[in-house]
Amino acid sequence: MLAYALRRIAQAVPILFLVSLISFGIMQLVPGDPAAMLAGPNATPAELAQLRQNLGLDRSFLVQLGIFYGNLLHGDLGHSLILGQPVLETVIERSPISISLAIYSLVLTILFGISIGMVAAMRHNRILDQIAMVIALIGVSVPNFWLGLVMIVLFSVQLGWLPTGGYVPFTEDPLGWLRAATMPAVAMALMQIGLLARLTRSTMLEILGQDYIRTARAKGLRETTIIVRHAMSNVLMPIVTVIGMILSVLLSGSVIVETIFAVPGIGALLGNAILARDYPMIQGGLLFVASALLLLNIAVDLIYAWLDPRVRLQ
């Protein structure tokens, strides 16, 4: 197991190098100019040239690349051109916000996604199945920005139950965090709930149709025992893989949801950096997010290997 884990970590190194190179190269190729964004449309050519020099943007591609990797080897992801703060520090500051929202969304996703999928499979072709699948369809179809605004009107303006936005750290005020994070978490989770419900239903139906389940039924086992003891372990395999992917999506943050609910997470940070052409923030931020996602994938693979020893042998 340890050798497997080390092998997976070693495989991540070249991937991270590629991510850093691609993110650096793409940002240099993308049109747009951070100096123009800072100075506005009415700046004189001389003022823009001076600003570019101040920001170090007048240096050649290779010099900038060299500086980037030189700093990276010292654990320095550079300074944001717009915020003026160290990129690593900023990303680390924002991470707990996105992580806590992602975990909240994931809990909702697992809870509702698996439950709805299971109910649908167990009541296949009955009214409950139809209702569950309509819910799943709504989940994958409704745009999260629309859902976000509808929830604000309903739960904040009309009912006054939840704040319209903002973020309260969990460590400062757990109840405040729960109130502030609920609508963004639901907006982020709804699509994932739909996807997971459909996957759970189809996997469960496939498993329930297999011979060993039929044998279990023929032996007279109760349906609950069959589901929990015999079907669930096999249903979990693909679900664990998908949950890993869902968590990757949730952890990357959602620019739209974070903007609507004024949550200063990673998604909003990177979205704003892209809009302002804040090269160091984009490069450093992407590298940080890519590292986090790679670690997450490794963790998922390890869980997978733990659940199914055949994976280790392969």
């Binding site: 123009a36 004189t44 003022e47 600003l51 003026g84 936005g165 004024a262």
Partner: protein, 527 residues
């Protein structure tokens, strides 16, 4: 040397000298603080990335920073230059030496007293990295004869010098001298203003609290522009970024925020009916306009540009661009401003496709593409371009939209002379800064319209030089009118109309006066 002394309270005289009097409504507040205490939350439309006011031209930065920092000179409610951290100003008779005496007793938020060394350090930093540092080009040197005196010596007399150093687009805020070497965006937000920084989370919120050591300028009763008698009535103010308009107005309706900016026009009526909410409006806040690219065919052809101008119906364009909240404005100044003139306005809002067709024929136009560079990131810019393109098509012009994200469109308009024919923007504070400041964008070396060889029209430049340097206000006004007429005639820029700034507050908010930027001094909450 014989001097002319200007005291802060002689605002009107200063304004006349600068040619900026009589616009807007002066805010002579009857009551500075009806009640002290309380926490206010302000919902901002844009994300705030930095509080380094020297290197950022964004509205969001000014909204917060101008409550923390102050300037030697600033603009009053009528956008006239006025003393702020300076107590008096003496101008030598040759018009080259400006001697400022600092207001006594002023302290920074770190407790250190304000001295002329701080002013000199701030000017030095601005001259090194300030975005609008061309405002200091006229200066030969500055001196600090004593702690309370800051003296500027110009290379040659310039009548609009005070207009330049008091401009509020990228204000020359005064910071402690030890910050003069701070690199861009690295400035510590330590000012002399009525509020001091508590917490700044970029893109999220900024929290400020009352600065107990603040020494108000009592030469005026009440706030006026960024100057006057400012007092922090509130304990704290939190500026929260609420970029989504629906979420922003919802937060006001629930009472989570007490003031919001940029209320969508379509929400105004609904909010007006809410007894818990007051809608406030600054009628002339920005000028919606476009400028052509003189270096790209076919807009390098004067007759083609004139044909395009002739084809436009400004009323329809503005109606679509602003959801009906606009004023037609055939000028690069707003009504009531000293330099306001309608010279050249016979070419504004012509709505004459037949004339356009005749001009196109004269120009030898063969259906070349006219590219309208715009962005959906700013809905007003997109809608303006969309309606304009349809009006151009009706006149037989092959108009085509090029819709890019804002950074790409802006970068293209700033750096490229090819690939586009018109660029769409809004001058939010530029117009309010006065005649010379507003036309400066079309003059050397700014030249946003990309004239060949980066040299603007000589007839325009002749008038612009008079506008910038003549000591005689009437001559400057005349020069502005002639320069503006030339802009219309040569189609160097096309103003579509003025847009208002619509804001809203909770009913218990008192003392809030809408301005180009947010002022939370002298604002209090009724119990």
């Amino acid at each position: 040397m014989k001097m002319a002394r200007i005291k802060a309270r002689l605002l009107a005289c200063t304004a006349v000298a600068a040619g900026l009097l009589s616009w807007g409504v002066a805010a002579a507040q009857a009551e500075i603080c009806g009640r002290k205490g309380g926490d206010l939350v302000f919902g901002m439309e844009a994300k705030l990335s930095t509080l380094d006011q020297h290197v950022n031209a964004a509205n969001a930065t000014r909204n917060v920073a101008m409550n923390i920092f102050e300037t030697l000179m600033t603009r009053d409610e009528n956008m006239a230059p006025v003393l702020d951290l300076a107590d008096s100003l003496d101008i030598s008779q040759d018009g080259k030496t400006y001697t400022f005496k600092l207001r006594p007793g002023v302290k920074f938020h770190n407790g250190k007293p304000l001295t002329s060394a701080d002013v000199a350090g701030s000017f030095a930093r601005y001259k090194r990295i300030g975005i609008d540092r061309s405002a200091l080009d006229a200066i030969d040197r500055w001196e600090t004869p004593d702690d309370a005196t800051f003296r500027i010596i110009l290379k040659e007399p310039r009548a609009t010098f005070l207009e330049s150093i008091s401009a509020s687009t990228v204000p020359i805020v005064i910071v402690p001298a030890d910050q003069s070497n701070a690199e861009p965006t690295q400035l510590k937000p330590i000012g002399t203003g009525p509020f001091e920084l508590v917490e700044f989370v970029a893109d999220s919120h900024v929290k400020v609290k009352r600065f107990d050591g603040y020494v108000p300028n009592k030469s005026l009763k009440g706030i006026s522009g960024f100057a006057g008698q400012k007092e922090a009535c509130l304990d704290t103010v939190t500026f929260r970024t609420l970029a989504e308009p629906g979420a922003r107005t919802a937060a006001l309706e629930t009472g989570e925020v007490q003031i919001v900016e940029d209320v969508p026009t379509l929400s105004r009526e609904r909010l007006s009916k809410n007894k818990d909410i007051k809608v406030v409006q600054l009628d002339y806040a920005g000028l919606n306009l476009t400028y052509p690219n003189f270096s790209q065919a076919p807009t390098d052809n004067l007759k083609v540009r004139q044909a395009i101008l002739a084809s436009l119906n400004m009323e329809d364009i503005m109606d679509a661009a602003s959801d009906g909240a606009f004023s037609l404005n055939p000028s690069f100044q707003f009504p009531g401003q000293t330099y306001y003139s309608e010279a050249g306005s016979q070419l504004y809002n012509q709505n004459n496709p037949e004339k356009a067709k005749a001009l196109l024929k004269e120009a030898g136009y063969k259906g070349e593409k006219v590219v309208l560079l715009t962005t959906r990131d700013i809905p007003r810019a997109y809608t303006t371009a969309l309606v304009m393109s349809e009006q151009m098509k009706a006149a037989g012009i092959n108009a085509e939209l090029l819709v890019l994200d804002w950074p790409t469109a802006l970068g293209m308009s700033v750096n490229d002379t090819k690939g586009w024919n018109f660029f769409f923007t809004t001058w939010i504070t530029v117009t309010a800064q006065g005649g010379a400041q507003s036309l400066r964008n079309l003059a050397d070396p700014s030249n946003v319209h990309k004239p060949v060889g980066n040299k603007s029209d000589e007839d325009f430049m002749e008038q612009f030089r008079i506008l910038s340097s003549s000591p005689d206000l009437e001559k400057r006004k005349e020069a502005f009118a002639k320069a503006q007429a030339r802009v219309f005639d040569q189609v160097m820029a096309i103003p579509f109309g003025a847009i208002p700034k619509i804001q809203a507050t909770r009913a218990n908010v008192e003392g809030y006066i809408p301005f180009f930027n947010t002022r939370v001094s002298n604002v209090w909450l009724k119990q």
